[in-house]
């Protein structure tokens, strides 16, 4: 009697249960797909906007560029198009400037030719070294390194620190501390190849490096950090008052590599990308632009003032 009742219940409700389960899986898959849209799904995103500040410091951020392949040239074309809307004054390079072979002709194919319009417009580049770069690139004038593996320069009230994260020896640390300490610049921006925080499956956060240099960034009031190495874009939730960006997909792409973690504020790993940034008084505004010219992330970072770092 009881067995017959159970059989009856299963007979009546099982098909409904099965259909519900199937529907749940399909909806979940669709939701997952929606979270990670293909390149075409963001076609409604706006194109780059012009800078806001009249006298702001405007720069371009390029990471992991030097492949010499089609993707690099496509991104480079977009970089130049963006300049017409957002006239950045200079470019910072986050390393892996020349992949693999670095014969003289490679400097042309992997750098000078794709960025020819920028070079013709006298837009200076300030490169940092990646793990694929021969340190002797520092003698190549268009990279703006002045013969140094690590160096610093200032644009109005913004001081930039280009570091060599491949080889963080004691001398570089001492130099960094000295330069950070001696600067009264309103903004301090550091950039280098390896991200201190990353949700990338292939590499992840560079913890050794973070242990050594982040305390200096905190102590001496670095506001924002840009890194490459991971072939995607990721904006990290501010850490210890510092804004961290990874932008290592200006030619290479590691599609689907971001393993979203609590670190991630925004990730984009379905297309190559680059950034344009302006620093305008107390605000840093950024736009991240895809290979096809769509703005995939944008926002503002307010300048953090730490009492101990006040000049």
């Amino acid at each position: 009697m009881v067995a017959a009742m159970i059989r009856n219940v299963f007979k009546r409700f099982l098909p409904v249960t099965v259909w519900l389960a199937v529907a749940t899986v399909v909806v979940a898959a669709m939701a997952d797909q929606a979270q990670r849209p293909p390149a075409t799904a963001i076609s409604a995103a706006p194109v780059a906007r012009p800078p806001v500040g009249e006298n702001s410091v405007r720069f371009l951020v390029l990471g992991d560029t030097g492949t010499g392949d089609r993707a690099q040239y496509d991104v480079a074309a977009q970089v130049w198009k963006t300049h017409l809307v957002f006239p950045y004054e200079f470019a910072i390079m986050l390393g892996d400037n020349i992949y693999k072979s670095d014969r003289p002709q490679d400097f042309a194919r992997k750098f000078a030719r794709p960025y020819q319009p920028l070079l013709d417009a006298n837009i200076p580049f300030y490169a940092s070294l990646g793990n694929h770069d021969d340190p002797n690139q520092r003698y190549y004038k268009p990279f703006g390194m002045n013969g140094q593996r690590y160096y610093t320069y200032q644009k109005t009230d913004v001081r930039f620190y280009a570091l060599d994260s491949n080889y963080m020896d004691k001398d570089q640390q001492a130099w960094l501390e000295r330069e950070l300490k001696d600067s009264n610049a309103k903004w301090k921006i550091a950039y280098f190849h390896h991200p201190l925080y990353s949700s990338g499956a292939a590499h992840g956060s560079e913890i050794d490096l973070r242990t050594i240099i982040e305390p200096l960034f905190v102590k001496y009031g670095v506001n924002a950090v840009f890194a490459g190495h991971e072939h995607f874009y990721e904006r990290i939730k501010p850490q210890k008052g510092i804004a961290y960006f990874t932008s290592g997909g200006a030619a290479k792409l590691r599609e689907g590599d971001i393993q979203r973690t609590p670190l991630t504020a925004k990730g984009f790993d379905t297309e190559q990308s680059f950034m344009v940034v302006e620093i305008d008084g107390e605000v840093m505004r950024f736009q991240t632009i895809s290979r096809h010219g769509l703005v995939v992330d944008s926002g503002e970072v307010a300048r953090q003032v730490r009492p101990e770092t006040q000049p």
Partner: protein, 233 residues
């Protein structure tokens, strides 16, 4: 005995670190800076403790299990630094035979200069042998430093480091580091523990080997094999 051994190791390590402290400034001047660029300082050359400095600690801490004691380590440190200095003499002599390296718009100049310098050093060191700079007396300390460093790392961290190292690459001394291969990032914490090097040289890890690389010539100066531990599968 265990306490004595421990104390001996601590003293030995302190002597190693102190012995590697540098006192001289690099003779290479920083190039003139552009209007907005402040160049970084180059790294100074490590020095042997000056004549008249206190002698190394006596060998009271000699380890009973065949490990070299304090005196042996101090001597090995001095030996390593002497060999670095000897290499720098060769490097500097080779530098006099090639045009000065300067900033240029023409990458060909950089490329040719690097190749010429490498060739000059290769000629001057035609009979170089493995262990010429990584003095045999010093090798156990290098191995211990690297292996101790890896032992403190998580499995994920070890895997991350090792996965980035160039593999299946045949390295030999006095040969050019293949330009098609990445120069794997040197783990920053490990770098803090190794003796300082002059700016002309750097440590790199290739496969399981620790190499000394001449930066300007892109030349492998010496190799210490089987230093990097293997990851258990």
């Amino acid at each position: 005995m265990t306490i004595l051994k421990g104390a001996g190791l601590i003293v030995a390590f302190a002597v190693l670190v102190a012995g590697c402290a540098r006192a001289e400034q690099s003779s290479e001047p920083a190039p003139a800076s552009a209007s907005t660029v402040t160049p970084a300082g180059e790294t100074p050359i490590p020095s042997v403790p000056p004549v008249g400095s206190p002698p190394p600690a006596p060998a009271t801490a000699a380890a009973p299990d065949g490990q070299p004691g304090t005196n042996a380590q101090a001597a090995a440190t001095v030996e390593f630094q002497d060999r670095i200095k000897a290499y720098l003499k060769v490097h500097n002599e080779a530098e006099t035979k090639v045009p000065n390296l300067k900033r240029t718009d023409d990458p060909k100049e950089i490329y040719e200069r690097q190749a010429s310098l490498a060739k000059a050093i290769q000629t001057l060191r035609a009979n170089a042998k493995i262990g010429e700079v990584f003095a045999p007396e010093y090798q156990p300390y290098f191995i211990k430093i690297v292996q101790d460093d890896f032992a403190t790392r998580s499995a994920r961290d070890r895997k991350a480091i090792i996965s980035e190292l160039p593999k299946n690459m045949k390295v030999d001394i006095n040969t050019v580091y293949p330009t098609t291969l990445a120069l794997a990032t040197f783990p920053a914490a490990l770098l803090q523990k190794l003796p300082d090097l002059p700016p002309e040289l750097e440590y790199r890890l290739v496969g399981r080997s620790l190499i000394l690389r001449d930066v300007k010539a892109n030349l492998i100066v010496d190799i210490l094999r089987d230093v990097v531990p293997t990851i258990p599968s």
